[in-house]
Amino acid sequence: MKKMSVLDRILLLVTGLLAAYQIVTGIGDAPALSAWAYTIAFGVLLVAGLLLIIMGFEILDSPWVIIVSTIIPLSLSSGLIAEYLPQITIPYLIFAIAGFLAIVYTRLNANTPKKTATIVLAAIHGIAGMLIFLLPIILAAQGTLPGGFALVGVGGALIGVGGLLLAFLKAGKPILPQKTILTLLPGLLLLMTAAFVIGFAAV
């Protein structure tokens, strides 16, 4: 496993500080459900960043990493849906909770074939990721929200990339060599968080 460099730690620390900033400032006049969902997403980012700094990349060996990292796109997408597509909030929440439970079950149940676990993860992560990617860009393109909000979509794309890299790495079929993924990860997390923070600040 790659050893964490000073640069990695600095990038993760800045990521944590950005996430902390977002938790403190909140997001405009978001409804309560969205505010909670965003807080959960940035809270997971903050704590995950701190744990990576403290425990090193070895923490990625834990089966809980995939489960916890799924919380970020699921809660962010739930927040966006509750704020901008309130008419489908309940069905989406049901999907998010059921999807999360399915990921927990397939990841922790030793009898689940690896392929099934990967398909479940890719489907649920994919839907949540696409929502975070497309919804802000569409809203910004329509002029419903300021152009800067499209950066939330960029953050969504980055989280999708990061999620896929990690998921395939954990499945034993890495898209890139492990060392490359771990070298990219802190920078990717920082860019993603920065895109979210700047994007939400534009609202």
Partner: protein, 286 residues
């Protein structure tokens, strides 16, 4: 000049700089969180000076008293005192001077503040180190009470009296101490066993210890949020505090349900970071 450098290099480990700094920050946070009525830098610097001397003095006296057990533990036997690089008489004198100077300065600043600082030193050196540390694993409760004194002292100086927020903050530190100390005593269990120091893991086993860590982490987190609310932190900062608290709680539960050396030591480090972050928030954002 070289003599001074050498002495400084030998003396510096005697004060356990990281631990002293963390306690100093809690005291400073206690004082600065009162905004009495606006921050006074002269008094703030005096708080730093008096607490630094008192906490360092207490730590040096502990080092002096525990030099025999430090010599038996691989983790501590290379410290300047047990390894014979400084004489015990020299360390005792330094510890007494630092303690007396710190308490004297604190009393001169405010008698009630000085009394709380003195109580911290008394609980730490006399009750914890000299009386209970070698007799019972429960001595850490007194170590915890002593650890809560700097923040209570800071609040007392700022408000002029002992009030509920200061007490809640001191209790939060008391309940945070097991997370910090017990994870440490699990990691270095052989050291403590070879020195004959009773610890919770040795007396009650790992599982009970991990449950105590999880429960005390939860209580510490709740108390910290209550104190933060009492101090007047805004909703955003309370949210951030809650997130950091939940992180510590989940790690403690993880350590109790799926124990491993890595999670255990991760919790130890996270607990320190948590306390530092909580105190900085209270210092800077009221």
């Amino acid at each position: 000049m070289n003599v001074i450098k050498t002495k400084f290099r030998l003396y510096w480990p005697l004060i356990k700089s990281l631990q002293t700094a963390l306690l100093l920050i809690t005291g400073l946070a206690g004082f600065m969180s009162t905004r009495c009525p606006i921050l006074n830098w002269t008094t703030t610097l005096q708080v730093v000076g008096s607490l630094f001397l008192a906490i360092s003095g207490s730590t040096i006296l502990n080092m002096w008293y525990d030099r025999d057990i430090d010599a038996k533990m691989p983790r501590t036997q290379h410290r300047p005192l047990p390894s014979g690089q400084i004489s015990s008489r020299e360390v005792l004198i330094l510890g007494l001077i630092s303690s007396i100077a710190g308490i004297g300065w604190a009393i001169a600043l405010n008698p009630l503040y000085g009394l709380v600082v003195f109580a911290g030193l008394f609980f730490d050196v006399v009750i914890y180190t000299i009386w209970l540390k070698r007799r019972t694993a429960w001595s850490i409760v007194w170590g915890g009470i002593s650890g809560g004194m700097p923040v209570l002292a800071g609040r007392t100086l700022g408000t002029g009296h002992i009030e509920w927020i200061g007490i809640v903050l001191a209790l939060a530190i008391l309940f945070w101490i097991p997370t910090h100390i017990l994870t440490f005593s699990m990691r270095y269990r052989k050291d403590y066993a070879s020195a004959g120091v009773p610890t919770f893991p040795a007396a009650y086993g790992d599982h009970v210890t991990q449950i105590i860590i999880a429960v005390s982490s939860m209580i510490a987190a709740v108390l910290m949020i209550v104190a933060a609310y009492g101090i007047g932190l805004t909703l955003g900062y309370l949210r951030l505090m809650a997130v950091l608290s939940i992180g510590m709680l989940l790690l403690a539960i993880g350590s109790a349900t799926r124990p491993s050396e890595r999670v255990n030591f991760g919790l130890f480090k996270y607990a320190s970071l948590y306390m530092l972050s909580a105190m900085i928030l209270m210092m800077l954002v009221v």
